[in-house]
C-alpha cells in the first residue's frame, strides 16, 4: 500500500503496529486502555467492560484488544481469512458522542487508511446477540468492499434498555491489518516489524495452534465433559447470584456479579464448542441459547443493583 495523503499516518509495517496505533489513538481520545479479559470469549462484546458497563447511567469510555474464539471457524490454518482464534479491538463509549463516526474515521486514518483514497461506507447491519439478550443498530463499515469494523449503538443489553446509549466499535484486527499491510493470507502477515533481527509472521505464532484447535474443536473435544461443564457453569452462575447480598465475612454489600458473569461466559464458550462438535440439533440450539441468555439477563439484573451499575452506594 503506497503512502496515503496528508492527515493520514504512514502505513504501518506490522500487525502489532496496527494494534499499537489504535491503542494510542483511542487513548488520545480519552478512552481507558484496558487489557484483554482473561477468559475464552466469542467476541469482544463479552468482555464485562462492554456487556456490563453498557448498563446503567454511569459514563464510560474504554478500549481494548480481546482475543476471541469461534470454534466453528477453524480451518486448520489453511484459509487465508478464517481463524478459530483471532483478535478483536473494542471501543465502547457511553453516552455515544455526537461525532462518533468522525472519531472512528480518524482511527482509520491513524492506521494509514485515507478516506480520500479508499471507499469507506457505512452499510446497514443490525447487531444482535441472542446469547447476551442484547441488540443495537448500526453498520458494518466497508473499506473497498471489505468489512473492517462493526459500529453499533447499543439499545438493549441483558434485556434492559440502554440509557444513555453506548456506542460500540469492533475491529476485526487480522482482516483490517491484512488489508492495511497488503497481505493476502493471514499466516503471511508480519506480526512484528519485518526489519527486526527476529521477524515473526502471524503463521510462525498461530499456524500450529490453528491446526491443533481445529482438530480439537471439530473432532476431539469430549462432548460429555463439555455438557457436564456447561451444566456446572449454569448452576454456579445461578448459585452465586442467589447468595445473599450481605457478605457474612465482612458484613459488606457485595453482589457477586462478575464471578457469576464469568460462569455465563464459560457456558457460552462451552456451547460454541458443543456446536462445533456438531452434537447440537437445530431445536436444541435455541434451547441452549436461551439458557445462556437467561444467565446473561440475571447478571445484568444483578449488575444494576451495584455501584458500577449506577445504584446509590
Amino acid at each position: 500500500m503506497a503512502a496515503d495523503g496528508a492527515g493520514t499516518a504512514k502505513a504501518p509495517r506490522s500487525f502489532q503496529e496496527v494494534i499499537l496505533r489504535l491503542q494510542s489513538y483511542w487513548a488520545a481520545q480519552g478512552c481507558a486502555i484496558l487489557q484483554p479479559y482473561d477468559m475464552e470469549v466469542g467476541a469482544g462484546t463479552f468482555h464485562p467492560a462492554t456487556t456490563l458497563r453498557a448498563l446503567g447511567p454511569r459514563p464510560w469510555a474504554a478500549a481494548f484488544v480481546q482475543p476471541s474464539r469461534r470454534p466453528t471457524d477453524g480451518r486448520y490454518g489453511d484459509n487465508p481469512n478464517r481463524l478459530q482464534h483471532y483478535y478483536q479491538y473494542q471501543v465502547i463509549i457511553k453516552p455515544s458522542p455526537p461525532d462518533m463516526q468522525e472519531l472512528y474515521l480518524g482511527s482509520l486514518a491513524a492506521i494509514g487508511l485515507d478516506p480520500a483514497r479508499h471507499d469507506v461506507r457505512f452499510v446497514e447491519d443490525d447487531w444482535e446477540s441472542p446469547t447476551l439478550g442484547a441488540w443495537g443498530l448500526g453498520w458494518e463499515v466497508w473499506c473497498d468492499g471489505m468489512e473492517v469494523s462493526q459500529f453499533t449503538y447499543f439499545q438493549q443489553v441483558g434485556g434492559h434498555d440502554c440509557a444513555p446509549v453506548s456506542g460500540e466499535l469492533t475491529y476485526g484486527l487480522e482482516r483490517l491489518a491484512m488489508y492495511v499491510l497488503g497481505v493476502d493470507h493471514v499466516m503471511e502477515m508480519p506480526f512484528n516489524d519485518p526489519q527486526t533481527p527476529i521477524p515473526l509472521r502471524y503463521g510462525d505464532i498461530f499456524r500450529q495452534t490453528e491446526e491443533e484447535y481445529s482438530r480439537h474443536n471439530f473432532d476431539a473435544a469430549d462432548t460429555a465433559m463439555l455438557l457436564r461443564h456447561f451444566e456446572a457453569a449454569e448452576a454456579e452462575c445461578a448459585r452465586l447470584l442467589a447468595a445473599p447480598a450481605i457478605d457474612a465475612r465482612t458484613g459488606r454489600h457485595i453482589v457477586m456479579v462478575h464471578p457469576a458473569y464469568d460462569q455465563c461466559i464459560k457456558a457460552s464458550h462451552l456451547f460454541n464448542l458443543l456446536d462445533a462438535r456438531g452434537v447440537i440439533s437445530v431445536t436444541e440450539r435455541q434451547a441452549y441459547i436461551g439458557r445462556v441468555r437467561a444467565l446473561a439477563k440475571a447478571c445484568a439484573d444483578a449488575f444494576l443493583t451495584t455501584t458500577a451499575g449506577g445504584a446509590a452506594a
Partner: protein, 680 residues
C-alpha cells in the same frame, strides 16, 4: 405562494428503508399541512444515504380564517349550562348571538379561527412528523430520547419566496432547524447555506451529491453497461441490487474488475450469489454466458481513478470466492461418494417438531412421488429415487452459506454423484415455481417430485391443524397450494387430490385448493361464479378437469344461447323454488309427457330427452363443448315453453306435472354445471 424545503440529515440510513421513508415523509408532511388548512401545489421527496429531503411547491402563505357557528343552550337554560358553553367555546357572553328556534330562543357562539402563517404550521407539523416517524426500526443515541433510524444531526427547513428564504423556527429535542447542509462526507464535507430547492440541488451536485435516487440508479446502470460493452460483456440485470446500491452512495462511481481465473470454474450461480450477497457486486458475463467480471459501485472519486479501491475489492472477492471454493470442493467430495453422509444428516434436522425430521419428510415425499409418478408419465422408481436425492443439498456447506442456492447446488451435486440428468434436474426444478414469475417444471420426474413435496407439506400441516389464517401463513401453505395448481394446470396433470389428501381434514384442504384455484383463475380473467358452477360436479378434486369444465362453461355463457338459457334456467328455478317452499314438497318426481297440454310443452319433453341423452356421454368423454352444445339446444324449447304456458294453472295435476318438468330442466343442466351459481 412559497416553496418549502425540508432536509433531515442523519448518519447512514439503510438502503432498503429509503423508498418507504421518502413516501412516508411526503405523505405525513402534506397530510399534516392539509389537515391544518395549509395548501400546496406539488410535492417531491428524495433520499441519499445521509438525508431525506422534501420539497413542496406553491405552498400558501397562510391557512384561511375559518368561522364556525356552534349551537348552545336555550336562553332560559340554567346558568351553569350557559357558563359551560362559554368555557367550551371561549366566547364572551356579550358576543353570543341569540336566534329564534322553533320553540325558544337559543344561544349561538360564533368562533373565528384566524388563519396562521405557513411557518407556524410547518414547524408544528415537522416536529410531529420527526417525533413519530414510522421507521421499521428506530433507535436512541447518546443521552437523548429522540428516536430516528440512526442519529439525526441537523434539520434544514426553509420557506422561500420572491422576498427570499426564511428559516422555519422549529426545534426537535434540541435540534434547531437551520438553512444549511453539508455535501459529500469525504469529498465536500463543508456546510453551506441554501436559499431554495433549486439552489439546494445545484449546490449539492457541486458538493458531490446526486440527490435523486432514480438518477443515481440510472447513472449506475448506464455506466456499468457502457463499461461492460467496451469489453464485449453484458451486465446481468438485477433490479433489486441496483435499487439497493443506489441507496448506498451519494456519488456513484462505477468500477469493473476481473474475477481471478482460479474461480471461473465455480458454478455461475455461486459466483453471482456470492458477489451479490456479500459484496453487492453486479456480475458481468461474456458472450458465452460465463461470468468473468464484477462491477462495484464506489461512493468516492479518487485521484488514481479508483485503482486501490478496485484492487481492494478484488482482494475481498478473492477471499470470499476462496471460501465458496472451499465449500464447493468439500461438497463435491461428499457428492462423489454418493452423498450418504448428507442422507444420514437429514435425520438430525428437524422439519417441524410434530412432523418429524427432514429424513422422515423425505421418506413420505418418496412414497408420494412414486404414487403420483404414473399420473404424470414418470417412472415410479425414478420419482421415488429423485425424492431421496433432491433434499440432500440441505446438508451441503454451500447451501448452509447461501440458502437461496438450494436446488441449484442439489443438481450439481447429484450430477457429481453420478445421478442421471432427470434425477439431477428434479433436485433443482422441483423447487419451481418459487414465485409468480417463475416457470413451472415440465419434466415428468420433476413434476412428480414437485407435487409430492408440496402435497406432503400441505397434508402434513393440515394434519396438525397449522392452517393459514388471515394474513398469517408462516409455512407458506398458500404458495404451496398455488404451486400445485400451476404445475397441474401447466402440465395437464390428471390427479384426484382426494386420494392423496384423504377424507376428514382433507375436505377442508380440498376447499382450500378450490379457493386458491379461484384466486389463481381470477387473475387470469376467469369468473369465480363460473368455477363455483362446476365445483358441484363429481370429480372436483381433479383440478385440471375443473378448469376444463369452467373454460367450456365460460365460453358457452359468452354466447347468446348461453346467456338466454341461464335466464330461462333462473326463471324455472325461481318458480320451482317458490312452489316447493309454498307447497312444502319437492317436485322431483319425473314429469309425464302424456300430460303435456300444448305442443311447446311436448317439445320441451322431447328436447330434455335429447339433451340428457347427449350430455351424459359427452361429459363422460370430457367433451365439454359437446355437452354445452346439447345444453344450448334447450334454450329455444325452454323459451317457447315459458312463452306458451302458465305453470301455476288451476289444474293441480297439470301444475304438478309442470313443476316436475321444471325440476327436470334443473336436473339435466346440473349434469353440466350448476347454472344457479351464475351471477348477473
Amino acid at each position: 405562494m412559497a416553496e418549502l424545503l425540508i432536509e433531515l440529515f442523519s448518519e447512514e440510513i439503510p438502503a432498503r428503508m429509503q423508498p418507504r421513508a421518502r413516501e412516508d415523509l411526503r405523505r405525513l408532511v402534506t397530510d399534516g399541512l392539509v389537515a391544518r388548512g395549509l395548501t400546496y401545489g406539488q410535492a417531491a421527496a428524495f433520499s441519499t444515504p445521509r438525508r431525506l429531503a422534501l420539497v413542496l411547491g406553491d405552498v400558501a402563505e397562510r391557512s384561511p380564517t375559518l368561522i364556525e357557528e356552534r349551537k348552545g343552550p336555550r336562553t332560559d337554560a340554567p346558568e351553569a349550562a350557559i357558563e359551560g358553553f362559554l368555557r367550551a367555546t371561549g366566547v364572551a357572553r356579550a358576543d353570543l348571538i341569540v336566534r329564534d328556534e322553533k320553540k325558544a330562543q337559543v344561544y349561538f357562539a360564533r368562533i373565528e379561527r384566524p388563519g396562521r402563517p405557513a411557518a407556524e404550521i410547518v414547524a408544528e407539523v415537522l416536529a410531529e412528523v420527526v417525533r413519530g416517524f414510522p421507521w421499521p426500526k428506530s433507535m436512541r443515541w447518546g443521552a437523548g430520547t429522540l428516536r430516528w433510524v440512526r442519529p439525526l444531526h441537523t434539520i434544514l427547513c426553509i420557506l422561500s419566496g420572491p422576498a427570499g428564504a426564511e428559516i422555519v423556527p422549529v426545534v426537535v429535542e434540541g435540534i434547531a432547524a437551520g438553512d444549511t447542509t453539508a455535501g459529500h462526507r469525504f469529498m465536500a464535507p463543508a456546510r453551506f447555506r441554501v436559499a431554495g430547492f433549486e439552489d439546494y440541488a445545484r449546490k449539492l451536485a457541486a458538493a458531490k451529491v446526486v440527490l435523486d435516487h432514480d438518477r443515481r440508479a440510472g447513472q449506475i446502470a448506464a455506466d456499468a453497461e457502457t463499461m461492460a460493452f467496451a469489453r464485449g460483456l453484458a451486465v446481468v440485470p438485477d433490479a433489486a441490487l441496483l435499487a439497493e446500491v443506489a441507496g448506498l452512495v451519494e456519488w456513484p462511481v462505477v468500477l469493473m474488475g476481473a474475477i481471478a481465473p482460479e474461480f471461473l470454474d465455480l458454478p455461475p450461480e455461486v459466483l453471482q450469489t456470492s458477489m451479490r450477497e456479500h459484496q453487492k457486486f453486479f456480475s458481468a458475463r461474456d458472450a458465452s454466458g460465463r461470468i468473468t467480471h464484477f462491477v462495484t459501485v464506489a461512493n468516492v472519486e479518487t485521484e488514481d481513478r479508483g485503482a486501490p479501491i478496485l484492487a481492494g475489492n478484488a482482494r475481498v472477492l478473492a477471499a470470499r470466492l476462496s471460501d465458496a471454493r472451499f465449500f464447493w470442493e468439500k461438497d463435491l467430495r461428499v457428492a462423489k461418494t454418493g452423498m450418504a453422509e448428507w442422507a444420514e444428516g437429514l435425520g438430525a434436522v428437524t422439519f417441524h417438531n410434530l412432523l418429524g425430521s427432514q429424513a422422515d419428510r423425505v421418506g413420505r415425499i418418496a412414497k408420494l412421488a412414486a404414487q403420483i409418478a404414473p399420473m404424470v408419465g414418470a417412472d415410479p422408481a425414478a420419482a421415488e429415487h429423485a425424492a431421496r436425492i433432491a433434499k440432500l443439498d440441505l446438508r451441503s456447506a454451500m447451501v448452509g452459506e447461501f440458502p437461496e442456492l438450494q436446488g441449484v447446488m442439489g443438481r450439481y451435486y447429484a450430477l457429481a454423484a453420478g445421478e442421471p440428468a432427470e434425477i439431477a434436474d428434479a433436485a433443482r426444478d422441483h423447487w419451481a415455481p418459487r414465485g409468480a414469475e417463475d416457470a413451472v417444471p415440465t419434466a415428468p420426474v420433476s413434476v412428480a417430485m414437485a407435487l409430492a413435496d408440496r402435497l406432503d407439506t400441505l397434508t402434513g400441516f393440515w394434519s396438525i391443524g397449522e392452517t393459514p389464517t388471515g394474513s398469517k401463513d408462516p409455512f407458506a401453505l398458500r404458495r404451496a397450494a398455488l404451486g400445485v395448481i400451476r404445475i397441474v394446470l401447466a402440465n395437464g396433470v390428471r390427479l384426484g387430490l382426494r386420494q392423496i389428501v384423504g377424507a376428514g381434514r382433507g375436505d377442508d384442504l380440498l376447499a382450500f385448493f378450490h379457493d386458491r384455484l379461484k384466486v389463481h383463475l381470477r387473475e387470469q380473467g376467469v369468473r369465480h361464479d363460473v368455477i363455483d358452477a362446476v365445483l358441484a360436479l363429481p370429480g372436483s378434486d381433479d383440478l385440471a378437469l375443473v378448469v376444463a369444465r369452467a373454460g367450456a362453461l365460460g365460453a358457452f355463457l359468452g354466447t347468446e344461447d348461453g346467456g338466454n338459457l341461464v335466464q330461462g334456467f333462473r326463471r324455472a328455478n325461481n318458480i320451482l323454488t317458490q312452489a316447493e317452499a309454498k307447497d312444502g314438497v319437492e317436485y322431483s318426481f319425473g314429469p309425464d309427457a302424456r300430460l303435456a297440454q300444448v305442443p311447446e310443452e311436448a317439445a320441451l319433453f322431447a328436447a330434455l330427452d335429447a339433451a340428457e341423452a347427449a350430455i351424459a356421454p359427452a361429459m363422460a368423454a370430457e367433451d365439454f363443448a359437446a355437452a354445452m352444445r346439447a345444453m344450448a339446444a334447450l334454450r329455444a324449447p325452454v323459451d317457447a315453453f315459458f312463452e306458451a304456458v302458465q305453470i301455476n294453472t288451476d289444474n293441480a295435476v297439470v301444475r304438478r306435472n309442470r313443476l316436475n318438468l321444471l325440476h327436470r330442466i334443473r336436473a339435466v343442466c346440473a349434469g353440466v354445471a350448476d347454472l344457479g351459481r351464475i351471477e348477473g
